[in-house]
Amino acid sequence: MTVRLLPCGRRAVLVESDDVLGYQAALAQAPPDGVVELVPAARTLLVRFDPAVTSSDRLGALLRQVSPVDSQVASAAEVVIPVVYDGEDLAEVASETGLSVEEVVARHSAGSYVSAFCGFAPGFAYLGGSDPALHVSRRSSPRTRIPAGSVAIAGEYSAVYPSASPGGWRLLGRTETPVWDVERDPPNLLPPGTRVRFRELP
């Protein structure tokens, strides 16, 4: 397992790892002194620290010794998201992937996903693990408004738009399940590590 440390200002280190969630799980089990926040993304984990307690050199030496643990063991129960597959980009995705619309829906709803990280907007979870046949690029020109609850794909990820926003992902369908609600604790239904399935609604 290779780990690379990259500089990221005077109060954080960016760790590049093949297993970001596993590395994060290991750090969360035994956090080094001074670590104040862990933020995962696609291939990197941001480790923010308090410069009054530790330094990037001292922390870096500790971070190089961390080995990822199995993050699946620690992950919460599976969330099932019912989806009406009537998205505007279904036909386009089908023609681009050489599949029929029915096959796109079947493959997307058969997948087993894991929330890899959040970003872009509060509660926007990047769900990894989609069928490689469904890896399509973003739209060349983003839509100015995508409604909350839209289920969409881009690259290797699937997502549910937590709130109405502009966006360039391909729309496959929509769900009534709110993935973000500031009145709920925690507000995010799909924090990193959560296992997710999509179920097709008629």
């Binding site: 500089p7 291939r43 941001l46």
Partner: protein
């Protein structure tokens, strides 16, 4: 006790010290852009450092107090008028019931902070009353006719009645350390030899800079990675964006360098057209 907003100015939001610690949910820290000026405004009215106050871009705000209170204005150099009389920045000002405070147009700097004794008492979201303009959290930007409740979250009476502050630098030099993707550029040192100009499309999310483009040595797509405030992200145009208070928690363009958090308050006061440099 309430503040009635008669004119909101160019862009005014409620801010505090933000919501740190939620970046893994896609929620950025947000909060006051110039945290030093924000803290000072609170101190001058005897509030705890994190009490919610108003962040006013370029001035233009007019408000009326419903009852006797104390306010203070810090940050950008902006004329203040109460009841036809001029008042100064960085000093407590008494407002009587029905008094109006007007902020003119800022002549230097970009952002003023108006603290009121007791703090603005809008409902907190995820532990903060700050408006996150990117994440759309917290209260909406101020509009004419809004009534802002004022809380009772004050400490003892203000101990300071004037806080002298240095003038804002005309062409600041911001200190940087190398960023995670410095090696994605053919000549990263060029960042330090260029005089950049602040672009008019800058906002609380990021300060866009114009200057000769930084050339990429690598053209592969970067998977989204977490960002910190102060990140200098370089989009395909080659012109860096300095991530500020409402920056996205992750970004898909390489970060060449990171501005010291201590220098972000100075950056918060940069006006479009102003020049700046970076120093290692």
């Amino acid at each position: 006790m309430k503040l009635e907003i008669l004119r909101p100015g160019f862009a005014t939001t409620v801010q505090d010290l933000g919501r740190p610690g939620h970046a893994a949910l896609g929620v950025g820290r947000s909060g006051a852009d110039d945290r030093g000026s924000f803290r000072l405004a609170n101190r001058l009215v005897g509030n705890p450092a994190g009490a919610a106050a108003l962040e006013v871009t370029l001035g233009g705000l007019v408000l009326r107090a419903s009852a006797l209170t104390t306010v203070a204005v810090t940050g950008a150099d902006c004329p203040l008028v109460v009841g036809g009389r001029a008042f100064g920045l960085n000093s407590p000002i008494t407002l009587h019931a029905g008094s109006e405070l007007s902020l003119g147009l800022a002549s230097a700097g970009l952002r003023c902070y108006v603290a009121v004794r007791g703090g603005i008492d809008v409902p907190p979201v995820l532990g903060s009353r700050a408006t996150d303009t990117l994440g759309k959290l917290g209260p909406p930007p101020l509009a004419a006719g809004m009534l802002l409740p004022v809380g009772e979250d004050a400490l003892g009476f203000p101990a300071v009645d004037l806080a002298p502050r240095a003038a804002l630098p005309a062409s600041p030099v911001l200190r940087v350390t190398p960023g995670p993707r410095r090696d994605w550029f053919t000549d990263p040192a060029r960042l330090l030899s260029t005089v950049y100009t602040v672009s008019p499309d800058s906002d609380r999310v990021g300060i866009r800079l114009t200057g000769p483009p930084l050339e990429r040595a690598r053209h592969d797509e970067l998977p989204s990675e977490p960002c910190v405030p102060g990140s200098l992200q370089v989009p395909p145009s080659g012109r860096p964006i300095l991530f500020h208070a409402d920056h996205p928690t992750t970004g898909g363009y390489p970060v060449i360098a990171v501005v010291d958090e201590d220098d972000l308050d100075v950056a918060a006061q940069l006006r479009p057209g102003q020049t700046l440099r970076f120093q290692a």
